[in-house]
Amino acid sequence: MPKVTIDGVTIEVDEGTTIMNAARKVGGEIVPPAMCYYSKLDKSGGKCRTCLVEVTKGSDKDPRPMPKLVASCSTPIMDGMEVSNKTSQKVLDARKGVVEFLLINHPLDCPVCDQAGECDLQNLSYEHGTEGTRFEEKKRVFDKIDIGPFIQLHMTRCIMCYRCVYTADQITNERVHGVLKRGDASEIGTYIEKAIDNDFSGNVIDVCPVGALTDKTFRFKSRVWFLNPMDAHRNCDKCSGKAVVWMFGEEIYRVTGRKDQYAEVEEFICNTCRFETKDLAKWTIEGPRHISRESVISQGHYEMQPLKIENNNEETK
């Protein structure tokens, strides 16, 4: 099997594996961040450029370095390839530039955005962004659009990762979702705001790395870090019925797919489970969902036993 070395760690992987997936096999620090690549979606990746890495040695056969940084999510490894991610200043600089580009037209309306706390863009800018902005121009804005009864599209927040386009293309059966216009005027369109009417359309919310596609049944209900995510399942005739229910007390506030450490869902779930099954009695709770991502939601400590409060106040004791 071909060997590849990423930030000094050597690993054997199958022929045709991308640098990103090789890095994910190792895990940890050497994994480049991804804003557009989604392993469950065919053709995804290559667009956001946050995963750029430096190939310092092409392969054993042709050891020449690659002249430009490459997108690790869509560049296949070669035997003997050597890659620098975090160890390359060039990569870190380029990544900083990419984060800046992703943010210049982003509204930064985190305080009123449902995605805050589980937003890939937020996490990315914490790690790779700068404190201030050099952008003094007017930001681009779009009107909000309702895509059917359950989903809202807020293009102003969109980073054009195309994940929802591929989702709509690949797991729903009607192609009514795509990109209109060009450049920074391009927008996700559902051809004349036609509602995506499909049992699996809700998954576009889960794949969206930012708050551009949100769940209308959950809008403004709560900050995600106040909720307790629980693995739960139910018998469903459309999907596996395996989901995460986000609870506040005994109430289910929202239902999502089960996301892994790269914020990708393990399985896509159907709209009935997601939007229309908020009754706790209809779910079997398995236990707390472990959030392994570095993010505000993992600060919730919901997996710990509540601390016993000792009251030392003589008067109220």
Binding site: G46, G97, V98, K181
Partner: protein
């Protein structure tokens, strides 16, 4: 007079018709190739000719052809890139309008060499009347047995179709062109796989410029070696240059590669010098994407050598003091032109034409456009200049397709050579709206 290959016959009356084209020796190369040469021999002649791609990148055509994958039972495609949308470039249009059969003859030869039975000409949507010219010419060629089944009883079949774009510059990028031809949104593809392996409908594909393909006719007629004897070094043959701007004689010229820039710019055979007795300020020798050269680097390189119209000489000095031959769009500025305004204009173009797939280009082009517009209208700050340089650096090399670079280079090179003019715009916000900065002084060139 320089030697003409492509435009040799364009002066002949009605050369756009089949009868006259044929009477003047047209389609003899097809006869020669199909009757006396194997496809490999045609490729070999093109290799010998040293012909380089005329669409911008200058990649050797013969080499590109030999890279095409040949899996059993899979069709191969030749696509002619007639999207010609680069500001300052208007040479393919001239060729197709004046002598459409030359392109068709070249297409037949190239398709034969590559083993393609279906080929396409992808033409920019704004060239609708040329599409009709080509379709008429194709029909004439078909009527006369140059297309269809069993051409010249050689057993070789070929159909050529013309397909128009819908007005997007990005569809000139070869993989965006392929997507567009497949009926999809014209977004460039991620590479690898390269078109030579998986192109149109996932089949091996070669994309070549109109001028590249048209040049094959002379190579087959007279042999690759004869073609290679024209030109200089690795810049063989002739090249069409579309000259525009403040020159006395704007137009499309065919030059032998290797003549000096000075001759091209000042002789009466070509541009005829700067118009209205003005002085030269700057020149963009290869279409809007290539770096701009200040007047003191146009006819001479940084180390004082004469600059020639070749791929190598125009690039001499790299990005610091050189430029590129590119697509041959030769844009000349006199002392009255404003570099800031021109740079803004180009930025606006790339902003408008970015497909929007990758973040550096989508966001960066719009940002540069906005900053340059402010500077042009007297609302700039000194730190904007370095900001522009930084944005262009963050775009360059980090995008999916070369449009990102094409947007970054004009800005970076304009600031490199005309920084004082940018500063003047910022320091004189009122005056810069009324008058222009004039000529730059020759700044000390760093070694």
């Amino acid at each position: 007079m320089g030697r003409k290959i492509l435009l040799e016959k364009t002066g002949i009356e009605n050369i756009n018709t089949y009868e006259v084209y044929r009477r003047e020796g047209g389609y003899s190369a097809v006869e020669k190739a199909l009757k006396k040469m194997t496809p490999e021999e045609v490729v070999e002649e093109v290799k010998k000719s040293g012909l380089r791609g005329r669409g911008g990148a200058g990649f050797p055509a013969g080499m590109k052809w030999s890279f095409i994958a040949k899996p059993e039972g899979v069709p191969r495609y030749l696509l002619c890139n007639a999207d010609e949308s680069e500001p300052g470039t208007f040479k393919d249009r001239f060729l197709m309008e004046k002598i459409p059969h030359l392109l068709i003859e070249g297409m037949i030869l190239s398709s034969y060499a590559l083993g393609c039975n279906t080929s396409y000409i992808y033409i920019r949507g704004e060239y609708m009347w040329i599409l009709r010219i080509l379709e008429k010419a194709l029909e004439e060629a078909r009527q006369n047995g140059w297309l269809g089944k069993n051409i010249l009883k050689s057993g070789y079949d070929l159909e050529i179709y013309v397909s128009p774009g819908a007005g997007a510059y990005i569809c000139g990028e070869e993989t965006a062109l392929i997507e567009s031809l497949e009926g999809k949104r014209g977004n460039p593809r991620m590479k690898p796989p390269f078109p030579a392996v998986k192109g149109l409908w996932q089949s091996p594909t070669v994309v070549n410029n109109v001028e590249t393909i048209s040049s094959v006719v002379s190579i087959v007629n007279n042999g690759g070696e004869q073609y290679a004897s024209i030109g200089l070094g690795k810049s063989t043959g002739t090249k069409l240059i579309s000259a525009c701007g403040n020159i006395r004689k704007p137009g499309v010229y065919e030059i032998e590669l290797g003549i000096s820039v000075e001759e091209f710019l000042y002789s009466d055979e070509y541009c005829g010098g700067i118009n209205n007795g003005k002085r030269l300020k700057a020149c963009i020798p290869g279409g809007s994407s290539v770096p701009i050269l200040p007047h003191y680097l146009v006819t001479k390189t940084a180390n004082g050598e004469q600059r020639l119209m070749t791929y190598e000489s125009l690039a001499d000095g790299g990005f610091a003091t050189g430029s590129m031959l590119g697509s041959g769009g030769f844009i000349v500025f006199d002392e009255d032109q404003c570099i800031v305004r021109n740079t803004w204009n180009f930025s606006r173009f790339y902003h408008h034409e970015s497909c929007g797939q990758c973040s550096p280009c989508r966001e960066g082009t719009g940002w540069m456009d906005k900053v340059l517009k402010r500077i042009e209208y007297g609302k700039g700050n000194m730190h904007d200049i370095d900001l522009l340089v930084s944005i262009s650096k963050n775009i360059e090399g980090n995008t999916i397709c070369p449009l990102g670079d094409a947007a970054a280079w004009p800005v970076a090179s304009a600031i490199r050579h005309f920084r004082e003019e940018f500063e003047w715009h910022i320091k004189e916000p009122v005056k810069c709206l009324e008058t222009n900065y004039g000529l730059v002084k020759e700044t000390e060139l760093e070694a």
